[in-house]
């Protein structure tokens, strides 16, 4: 079992969109290593011919008729927005300038 390095934690943090501080990277590396070490026991069953269960219920997609129904007003939908403009969510720039 490879140990989880500080660099790996930094990479995970980027994937998870978490701007972790330096001391957090250090702290989490140790803790994640401990936790992974403890939970890796599940791989004991990996070779067994057991189907995985992802959910306790057999899920099927739920469809409804495509009819217009009352819903949130634009004001309600935008009520929690950190920033809004012209009845839209105002977000920081998504595309870079170059």
């Amino acid at each position: 079992m490879p140990g989880i390095t500080r660099e790996e934690v930094a990479h995970l943090a980027r994937l998870a969109r978490l701007e972790l501080k330096d001391e957090e990277l250090e702290h989490f590396a140790g803790q994640l290593d401990d936790i992974i070490g403890a939970v890796a026991r599940v791989s004991e069953v990996a070779e067994q011919d057991v189907p995985p269960t992802s959910h306790p219920l057999p899920l099927t997609n739920v469809m409804r008729p495509d009819e217009v129904r009352p819903s949130l007003t634009p004001q309600e939908a935008l009520s929690g927005a950190p920033a809004q403009e012209q009845q839209r969510f105002k977000v920081p720039q998504i595309l870079g300038e170059d």
């Binding site: 995970l12 994937l15 978490l18 701007e19 004991e44 995985p52 219920l57 409804r64 929690g80 927005a81």
Partner: protein, 497 residues
């Protein structure tokens, strides 16, 4: 006023229906109690004084008009801050939703309102329901009313503490790995995790969607059943909602009996890490079940030994995906938006500022377990363990009607004791997790105090999916026998606040 707050929900409903009490009187008594003790307990994150009184006045007006009242009309309730409440803050115990006012009600919230239950406010919880102690709340921990230096369990510590402190006769919790049952056990109250899919998850902030289940918390088995009937049932707004009739839980709670029942005791639910006093009270409960006419059957469920490991891969994996919605773009906190940063950077800064350590830890763990190269070894294997656990339960329920175990391996530990040791903290859920993985139903109810620390011990009862009524039938019989033996409800032994 003291008398009113000690009444059960069933008694309150009866007295309101008969006109002996008004809903306003009952609500005022509980609001006064919250005001008097919540500074010490910190069960509530938000008390909706005006809203609660308005609901109570409406119940009284309905009664005066001679309209039919529901079975819990006018009974106050403390709602875990994980359910959306229109016009009332919902924070999930997190800074990332501080000040957020939802524009809609969760289905569960709506059902409570439609049943004329009076919602007193929102209760404290571990951030995003991740934890077993309520220490992970961004708004500070809740104290256990039995000993304020001890944890009240988690993540629904606020809901169970509110019951034990007589701030509300009813509360709502959610149970992903034990967050209803473990707090119930350590506070000397009753908590039920209904069958997965039987209480709507619509408007309940998702942590681990295949495990999360809302359910009732109360001081008595009958009260839990009355609340169960109000909140359970199919919801077309939730694709994971089961379209099946709600089992007759109230009837079962009114007719408690274990006569002729086969009760399973699982070998894997004991061993290292179990406190002596917890084991002692559990063994006494098994003796009691025998005296009451049950047949005890020893069971071997070998896969249960892997349940904790599987859970701590599956729950973080699902949470890392579910919590992606907290991106600082459409609602909640936004940090670092100074006009120069990209949306991606603002999202990362927002999540760094808004999430606490346990949430970050689980998001990272989930991201790791789902990453290419590790997926099969961790997440894939955990899902296989889930199959094995489900099979163990199926085999067990061919031999027995219900399974019993201690709810938690220890009584309430001290606040701060396990805060820096995630693995030690995770052990609190050792006995509750197999049920979440399999989706069946379980209850925790008080079975005495551990002699070494005089803190409550919980007895867990587990039933097959959609047989929730068995929990209440067995629970009511055990409760009645213990209450007769002790001469009072266990909570009477708690020190006064």
């Amino acid at each position: 006023m003291t008398d009113i707050i000690k009444l059960t929900a069933a008694q309150i409903a009866e007295r309101i229906a008969s006109g002996e009490l008004t809903a306003v009187q009952v609500t005022e008594a509980h609001l006064a109690r919250i005001e008097a003790v919540d500074e010490k307990v910190h069960a509530f994150l938000h008390v909706d004084r005006e809203g609660a009184l308005a609901q109570a006045r409406e119940v009284d007006a309905k009664r005066e008009r001679g309209e039919k009242l529901g079975p819990l009309a006018g009974v106050p309730l403390a709602l875990k801050d994980i359910f959306t409440t229109k016009g009332i803050p919902t924070t999930v115990g997190s800074k990332i939703l501080e000040g957020w006012i939802p524009p809609y009600d969760a289905t569960l919230t709506k059902r409570l309102k439609d049943a004329d239950v009076v919602i007193l406010g929102k209760t404290n919880m571990d951030e995003f329901a991740m934890g077993s102690s309520t220490e992970n709340s961004a708004y500070g921990p809740t104290g256990n009313p039995w000993d304020l230096t001890k944890i009240p369990g988690g993540s629904g510590g606020g809901s169970s503490a509110a019951l034990a402190a007589y701030q509300a006769p009813l509360a709502i919790g959610t149970d992903t790995g034990g967050s209803i049952r473990q707090p119930a056990a350590v506070t000397g109250t009753v908590g039920v995790k209904p069958t997965y899919g039987s209480v709507s998850r619509y408007g309940m902030v998702a942590f681990s969607s295949s495990l999360d289940q809302g359910g009732p918390c109360a001081r008595t088995v009958l009260d839990a059943a009355l609340l169960h009937e109000v909140i359970a049932g199919h919801d077309p707004m939730d694709s994971t909602s089961i379209d099946a009739p709600v089992p007759p839980v109230v009837e079962a709670a009114r007719n408690g009996s274990v006569q002729g029942m086969r009760v399973g005791v699982v070998k894997q639910f004991r061993g290292e890490g179990y406190q002596a006093g917890v084991v002692q009270r559990f063994d006494e409960s098994v003796e009691l079940l025998k005296e009451l006419g049950a047949e005890i059957v020893e069971l071997d469920c070998p896969s249960f030994d892997l349940a904790l490991a599987a859970y701590y891969l599956i729950a973080p994996s699902e949470c890392s995906s579910n919590l992606a919605r907290f991106d600082g773009l459409r609602y909640g906190l936004r940090a670092g938006d100074d006009g120069t940063r990209s949306a991606e950077d603002v999202t990362a800064l927002t999540r760094e500022a808004g999430f606490g350590p346990e949430v970050k830890r689980r998001v990272m763990l989930g991201t790791y377990a789902l990453s290419s190269g590790y997926y099969d070894a961790y997440y894939g294997s955990a899902q296989k363990v889930r199959t094995l656990i489900t099979r163990d339960f199926e085999k067990a329920f061919e031999q027995v009607d219900v399974i019993v175990s201690p709810t938690t391996p220890t009584t309430a530990f001290a606040i701060g004791e396990r805060a820096d040791d995630p693995m030690a903290m995770y052990l609190a859920d050792l006995c509750t997790i197999p049920t979440n993985l399999a989706g069946n139903a379980a209850m925790s109810l008080p079975c005495g105090l551990a002699p070494e620390d005089n803190l409550p011990v919980g007895l867990q009862i587990i039933a097959p999916a959609l047989k929730d009524d068995r929990l209440y039938k067995v629970g009511a019989a055990v409760e009645a026998a213990f209450t007769a033996r002790w001469g009072h409800h266990l909570l009477e032994e708690a020190p006064s606040l």
